[in-house]
């Protein structure tokens, strides 16, 4: 190979995945190395391969040779760079990094010379210390890396370059090791020097002023032009870099990932086994015979799976679902492949393909080289069992979670950079506050800092602004992905290094989901979903299974259309609730649309109103062509799902499936990185060629922008819609069961137990208070007594709602009660062996009713219970009764809220109503009777404050004793009355009633803080003299 006279390969380069050391992104370094005409670039982060996939993508794009390696500091103090020569060397590197990372706490590593025994296919560079006098002969290195080791010479113009070179030349001669030039690079350009100093200060938890000699002496540690290098290094040393690069031929493209086939029993192949399972499922799903259309779909899908050899993936997911089902854990798959007919047969999803036509547009496509994607939601309280099963079945060497890269956002960047620049803790609070709320994440703006009282002309503030914006997006540490498992056929560490997560006994790989996608590796998302816990509990109580829930029940849809959906999955939020009466869902597919349409994507793309107008027949449904009609017909010509946008690009603008998929990814990233212009041109030209009007093309493009990263796939919406339907059906027909299931699955959902209980009571459910002689740990169903009106079954609140009560104490209590009811506090304490804390918690919850005269007496009694001494079980000394006054109603209500978070007594506002009435505040139910346009005064406890989207309005939900009220506060008023808005617990408003299509909003003209009335309540509760 002819040697390029001034060729150079950089062999020692840190990216910002050497956290707080590297000051440039991997992509920036690769791009710059390419611009400078480097022959190759080695990415050598410190004991990490976390940044290599990003570097690899960019290297492929620009056409630069990338070498994979890492930098290490050994326990003995040696400083090395290792480079992978080939696939085997890469595996050796992964093993070594894994070993070092697993041997230390998260974020650090530990390796010694003795760990370097298995690196036969790696090259090594020995990096000398800066002080030439301290350079010691690396005997062990010469021995360990004979023929594969180099002494690195780095000239950084630090005043000692010549001394060091001299010394290294001597050592090279003595040990017979060649010398090679390296740049010890930590940034792509010299302008990053201040950022690197800032990172160093953050790393040492100090300020830049106190960095001293830890700051860079100069900016030489960047990728330097070859001409400049030629003046610094002897030419043999530069040529040697090419020799090293030549010997490294590994590329990440060589990684071939094989999915495990542990699930396939002996004697079967994955293909035959999958077919057998699907056939069995088909019979189970359609006992009367599978509809021919579905049968054809199944055949088509199986062919495709076979062609792409994806059987092991489907079998692995099937196995997890099978495990969960055996354990009685409810689960449901979603994602592009989950709603296939195959997955329905395998039981991965309950969404019946016959119930919904045309859903499988985006199943798997062979043109796109993209792995199938199935996310499985499990009951949130039992997901851990599934995770443990995975670890048990595959072993920790084969299964690990994907990483989630935690990067700097405006707030964290301002906090860290502010500290490093010496801002005081108060100033930092102020800075962070300036970036909070509804502000964007892409850039910190000078105006924010000015608003927070900082002078943008101040040099420190200017540096802060400049550096913070550089810091944004820098990776900070690796965390665990919420549930994305990667499982390998042999061992994972042959593929990617594995390290410890913050959670004990958890391990993560060093790549995140984008990295995995980019390399075509498969993962299974094992996610947690609270509603599944609640549905499983409800079904257990009803003695049913999910597929026994009757489909398309008219009463259920009728309830949904009334927006009587508090507690129902997804459609319980205020935005969803206000959409329901307008959308008027009548069937399952309407629910799919409902789930997808109240999302930032369709809202920002302005698809909601056109869809509603067309649905109500106020606007004609038109299609510019038959092809578009085929894509958009099911959503009345308005694109609502991500799949439709992709498909539209294909049929209307002539995108290939591969291009359409890249458009999808570009859509997800454009807010972060921009770069959609190419696609805009391509889309508009494509549409013009096919005869679409410029206006239509413009509208479609606008909608694509709106989708951005918020696009909601139809396949997800369908899975969610099923849970919406099931939870709504339970609420509609079994409200008591629904309440018990939700209470026992807390925390989850949008509403707190107080609202759930109030809603259930409003639907006639009898709810009984916590009581030590009746309650179990969880809330339970009780029979309804003669004379009680309402639901068929009553709900007894469980001990789990009692604040401060230990679970073990509650369980002892329930067990002890088996021998008979408790008759006194003393007896309760003794038989259940309760601690003072548990007793106090029970007294505070008023759960001792029946054992003590009232709550106060209970409090006095439990305080007098002495720790039981086995020898002195005799009764306590006779006591003088202090004759405590009973609590007032207000006192009881406040105490209920403090201990349980809810009260079965009157709403606090009921007590204040006379007062509120005098002040002419109307209760919610009366407001509902007023005509629209009327100005009214209302007051209530603030349940929710939201500032969605662009922040043009603040939405407030108030609650009084008769119901809830939805307030809209426009921005200008919100700014003017910011204090009241932020602070009031009891908020009053002077507002105009607006009502349309069954949805009522109050547009606020003026706010009042009425919290002092609550204070009066507090005083009332104490005021018994």
């Amino acid at each position: 190979m002819a040697v390029n006279p001034d060729g150079y390969a950089e062999l020692h380069c840190l990216t910002n995945f050497s956290f707080l050391r590297g000051a440039s992104h991997p992509q920036e370094l690769v791009e710059r190395a390419h611009e400078l005409g480097y022959a190759a670039l080695a990415v050598t982060d410190e004991c990490s391969l976390a940044g290599v996939v990003r570097a690899h993508e960019m290297a492929k794009e620009v056409g630069l040779k990338l070498i994979i390696g890492c930098e290490l500091r050994l326990e003995e103090g040696d400083h090395l760079v290792l480079l992978a020569q080939d696939r085997e060397g890469y595996t050796q590197l992964c093993r070594l990094v894994t070993r070092g990372r697993r041997a230390a706490v998260k974020g650090s590593y530990r390796l010694a010379r003795s760990d370097l025994d298995d690196l036969s296919r790696c090259l090594a560079l020995w990096i000398p210390p800066r002080d030439p006098l301290a350079v010691q002969a690396p005997d062990w290195f010469a021995e360990a890396f004979a023929g594969r080791g180099w002494l690195a010479v780095t000239r950084l113009r630090d005043g000692l370059d010549s001394d060091r070179l001299e010394r290294m030349e001597m050592l090279a001669k003595r040990h017979g090791l060649p010398l090679v030039a390296t740049g010890n690079v930590c940034m792509h350009a010299p302008e990053r020097r201040p950022l690197r100093d800032l990172l160093t200060a953050i790393r040492y938890r100090t300020t830049v002023d106190l960095l001293g000699r830890r700051a860079l002496m100069n900016g030489e540690r960047h990728l330097r032009p070859r001409g400049e290098l030629a003046t610094l290094y002897p030419s043999e040393l530069l040529e040697e870099t090419l020799e090293v690069a030549r010997r490294c031929s590994f590329s990440l493209d060589e990684l071939r990932y094989e999915y495990p086939d542990d699930v396939t029993p002996a004697g079967s192949t994955p293909r035959t086994f999958l077919r057998r399972l699907v056939e069995e499922g088909k019979v189970r799903r359609w006992p009367g015979g599978c509809p021919p259309q579905v049968a054809a779909q199944i055949e088509h899908e199986l062919d495709l799976i076979a062609e792409l050899k994806y059987e092991p993936y489907f079998l692995t997911v099937w196995d997890l679902v099978r495990f969960a089902r055996e354990r009685g854990i409810l689960c449901q798959g979603r994602g592009s492949a989950a709603n296939s007919a195959v997955c329905y047969c395998l039981g991965i999803t309950e969404v019946d393909p016959a119930r919904m036509a045309l859903l499988f547009e985006r199943f798997i496509s062979k043109e796109r080289d993209e792995p199938p994607d199935i996310d499985v939601d499990f009951e949130h309280q039992r997901r851990e069992e599934v995770i443990q099963y995975i670890y048990e079945k595959y072993g920790r060497h084969r299964a690990a979670l994907a990483a989630s890269i935690i990067s700097y956002r405006p707030r964290s960047a301002l906090r860290d950079a502010g500290k490093a620049l010496g801002f005081s803790p108060q100033q930092i609070e102020r800075l962070v506050h300036a970036a909070s709320g509804w502000r964007g994440r892409r850039e910190v703006e000078a105006a924010w800092l000015q608003e927070a009282g900082f002078d943008p002309e101040n040099p420190r503030v200017r540096w802060l602004l400049r550096l913070v914006n550089r810091l944004l997006g820098f990776p900070r540490h690796l965390s665990q992905h919420v549930g994305g498992f990667v499982i390998a056929r042999d061992t994972l560490e042959a593929l990617v290094p594995v390290e410890n997560a913050a959670m004990p006994e958890r391990t993560i790989i060093q790549w995140d989901k984008d990295d995995l996608e980019s390399l075509g590796l498969m993962k299974v998302d094992v996610l947690a979903l609270g509603m599944l816990s609640a549905i499983r509990r409800a079904l257990d109580l009803l003695g049913m299974t999910l597929d026994q829930v009757p489909p398309e029940d008219p009463a259920t849809y009728e309830m949904i259309r009334r927006a009587d959906t508090l507690g129902v999955f997804q459609i319980e939020s205020r935005a969803q609730m206000s959409m329901l009466p307008r959308l008027k869902p009548e069937n399952f597919y309407d629910l799919v649309v409902e789930v997808a349409i109240v999302r930032p994507g369709p809202i920002q793309g302005e698809m909601v109103h056109p869809y509603l107008r067309r649905r109500q027949g106020l606007e004609p449904v038109e299609y510019p062509s038959e092809a578009v009609k085929a894509v958009l017909e099911r959503t009345l010509g308005v694109p609502i799902f991500q799949e439709q946008v992709i498909k539209l690009a294909m049929v209307a603008a002539g995108f290939t499936p591969g291009e359409a998929d890249r458009l999808r990814r570009a859509m997800a990233a454009w807010r972060r990185r921009g770069g959609l212009e190419v696609w805009e041109r391509r889309l508009k030209e494509g549409m013009a060629e096919r005869g679409y009007s410029a206006g239509y093309a413009e509208r479609i493009f606008h909608q694509i922008l709106g989708f951005g990263e918020y696009g909601f796939p139809e396949s997800h919406a369908a899975s969610f819609a099923l849970l919406v339907y099931v939870s709504a059906w339970i609420k509609c027909h079994h409200p008591a069961v629904f309440l018990v299931a939700l209470l026992n699955s807390q925390p989850m959902g949008f509403y707190a137990p107080a609202q759930l209980v109030r809603d259930a009571r409003g639907h006639g459910v009898i709810v009984r208070p916590v009581n030590v002689n009746h309650s179990f740990w969880e809330s339970t169903l009780e029979p309804v007594e003669a004379g009680e009106e309402g639901s068929r079954r009553a709900v007894r609140l469980g001990l789990h709602l009692v604040k401060g009560l230990s679970r073990s104490g509650a369980e002892r209590l329930v067990a002890a009660r088996g021998q008979g009811a408790f008759r006194s506090v003393e007896e309760l304490a003794r038989r259940a062996g309760l601690t003072g804390g548990d007793l106090k918690a029970l007294a505070a919850a008023d759960a001792l009713a029946g054992l003590a005269e009232h709550r106060h007496a209970a409090g006095w009694a439990v305080a007098g219970v002495e720790p039981s001494l086995p020898l002195l079980e005799a009764a306590s000394p006779a006591e003088v009764d202090p004759a405590l006054p009973p609590p007032t109603e207000a006192g009881e209500i406040l105490a209920d809220y403090a201990s349980l978070g809810l009260s079965l007594r009157r709403h606090p506002l009921a007590l204040l109503r006379p007062e509120l009435g005098r002040l002419r505040y109307l209760p919610a139910e009366e407001v509902a009777r007023c005509p629209p346009g009327r100005m009214v005064r209302v007051a209530g406890l603030v349940l929710v404050r939201q500032r969605p989207g662009k922040g043009n309005a603040v939405f407030i939900t108030l609650e009084d004793e008769t119901g809830t009220l939805n307030l809209i506060v426009w921005r200008s008023l919100a700014e003017r009355q910011r204090q009241v808005l932020l602070q009031a617990k009891l908020l009053g408003a002077w507002a105009e009633i607006q009502r349309a299509e069954g949805v009522q909003h109050l547009v606020v003209r003026r706010l009042h803080d009425c919290s002092h009335l609550l204070g009066a309540l507090q005083v009332k509760s104490r005021d018994f003299h």
Binding site: L133, D197, R213, G219, P425, A452, G453, W463, H856, A863
Partner: protein
């Protein structure tokens, strides 16, 4: 006994001199890992800032709010200063948080009765710039509690106490968590409620501590409090029998002051480190100088010797009429343990002490290394007594840099683009690039070279990377 309690609710703000109206100000405190507003001034109140508000919330309401964390040292100093002020009205003074208590029963007659005394104190306080609220009661605990919760109460007899204290919430009186929790659980809240509860039953539940506190409050049990003593400083003046013109002759009278100081120090088991001498003249301002000791001491001969050395080169501007010696601060005496090594250090130290006494404190300086890449900031003068920090040595970090630096880099002439210093300079190969200091506005971007002048001097010069200009920065020996 009558205790007068002065409560200073705004002291945490006032001790920052933060009474200035108009600008929103607040002090914060840290709790559960978060910053909370502790107190704020009226301007901040107007913007909606409240005590116990989370700091970010307060900043949201008042972006221009100035906030300091509460400073207990400042508060203590301010309170002690108020103690010294109260000292003139009573010798029995005690402190409670933000509160000064003084026993005034004994001094009432002297100041013309309680209200006359109280008014007088009020007037003085407002001059001092503090807002205080008062109450008086027969027990210090009751006076303190009333000053906080019912300012302006004056209870002269013990029998009034129970009635006056009964309505006060117990939480204002004690932080005893067990008691307060119990009271909340049983729906009671005031001191009166608590007094009504049966004593043995109460003690079974919350221990005997609350009862003891209540007894003290009501004067049914003694409430011994550590009484405060004002800090004392040594300050003695000696009028000379005759005016002295010659400095050396001051030695003899000065000796008496030194003896007196040493006796004072011994009586307090203390040592002095810094003596202030004032020589007073008839028509001129006093001659004032300080004598510092290497180590705190109270050996009269040593102190006298130090003075003697200073006197030897002191020129008096006029005859001296009075001598004054002051020592504002002293340190507790600690037994000195000597060893060989320390003795040697002491020897060095004594030399230094003498040099400084002779030449003045600023004329003798130490030098120490600083961690900075910029050569001019890589060292600085320091106190020779404190000495260089141990363990920091010049190292390879500094590369090839000369020991002699010019006070300021000097611009070099250029001829044909080459630096010139008494002739064209010969440059050695490239040495060192220093680019740093962007954070403090003193950024440097320089390429340093060694150069040899025609006269054979070895110079250290640099070229500014931005301007391309040459400078001489140091000389190799």
């Amino acid at each position: 006994m009558l205790w007068l309690g002065w409560y200073f609710p705004w002291l945490p703000l006032e001790c920052f001199g933060a009474a200035e109206a108009g600008v929103p100000l607040a002090v914060s405190r840290r709790e559960q890992g978060r910053e909370w507003i502790d107190r704020c001034n009226p301007a901040a109140l107007e913007l909606g800032v409240r005590s116990r508000m989370a700091l970010p919330a307060a900043l949201a309401l008042a972006p221009g709010l100035r906030v300091w964390p509460r400073d207990s040292r400042r508060e203590r100093q301010a309170l002690e200063a108020l103690g010294s002020w109260a000292w003139r009205y009573s010798s029995r003074i005690a402190f409670d948080p933000l509160l000064v208590l003084l026993e005034v029963g004994a001094s009432l007659r002297l100041f013309g009765g309680f209200h006359a005394l109280r008014k007088r104190m009020e007037t003085e306080l407002s001059k001092l710039g503090y807002h205080g609220q008062w109450s008086a009661a027969p027990t210090p605990a009751a006076a303190a509690l009333l000053a906080r919760t019912a300012p302006g109460s004056c209870l002269e007899v013990r029998s009034q106490l129970k009635e006056a204290l009964a309505p006060i919430p117990l939480s204002h009186f004690t932080r005893n968590a067990g008691l307060l929790e119990l009271m909340q659980d049983i729906g009671l809240s005031t001191i009166g409620d608590c007094l009504h509860l049966p004593r043995p039953e109460l003690a079974r539940r919350v221990g005997s501590e609350p009862a003891r506190l209540l007894d003290r409050l009501l004067g049914q049990a003694p409430d011994p409090r550590p009484l405060w003593q004002p800090p004392q400083r040594f300050c003695q003046r000696l009028q000379l029998m005759a005016e002295i013109e010659e400095a050396g002759a001051l030695r003899f009278p000065a000796r008496r002051l030194i003896e007196s100081l040493c006796a004072f120090l011994r009586s307090r088991d203390a040592l002095a480190q810094r003596l202030e001498w004032r020589f007073l003249h008839r028509h001129r301002p006093a001659t004032v100088f300080h004598l510092g000791l290497l180590k705190p001491g109270r050996d009269p001969l040593h102190l006298l010797e130090l003075l003697q050395q200073r006197l030897e080169r002191l020129e008096l501007p006029a005859p001296v009429t009075d001598l004054e010696l002051r020592v504002d601060r002293w340190q507790p005496f600690q037994e000195q343990k000597g060893d060989l090594f320390e003795k040697r250090q002491q020897g060095d130290g004594l030399l230094l002490e003498r040099l400084r006494a002779r030449l003045g404190e600023t004329a003798v300086q130490g030098v120490r290394l600083e961690a900075d890449h910029r050569p001019e900031r890589a060292w600085r003068y320091c106190d020779p007594v404190a000495g260089p920090k141990p363990g920091r040595k010049a190292s390879a970090d500094h590369g090839h840099q000369p020991l002699w630096l010019l006070p300021q880099p000097r611009r070099l002439e250029e001829r044909q683009g080459q630096p010139f210093h008494g002739g064209p300079l010969r440059l050695r190969p490239f040495g060192q690039r220093i680019e740093t200091g962007w954070w403090d506005g003193d950024e440097v971007n320089r390429d340093y070279y060694q150069a040899v002048s025609p006269a054979g001097e070895r110079l250290w010069i640099y070229r500014e990377r931005k301007s391309g200009r040459w400078f001489l920065h140091g000389v190799f020996d």
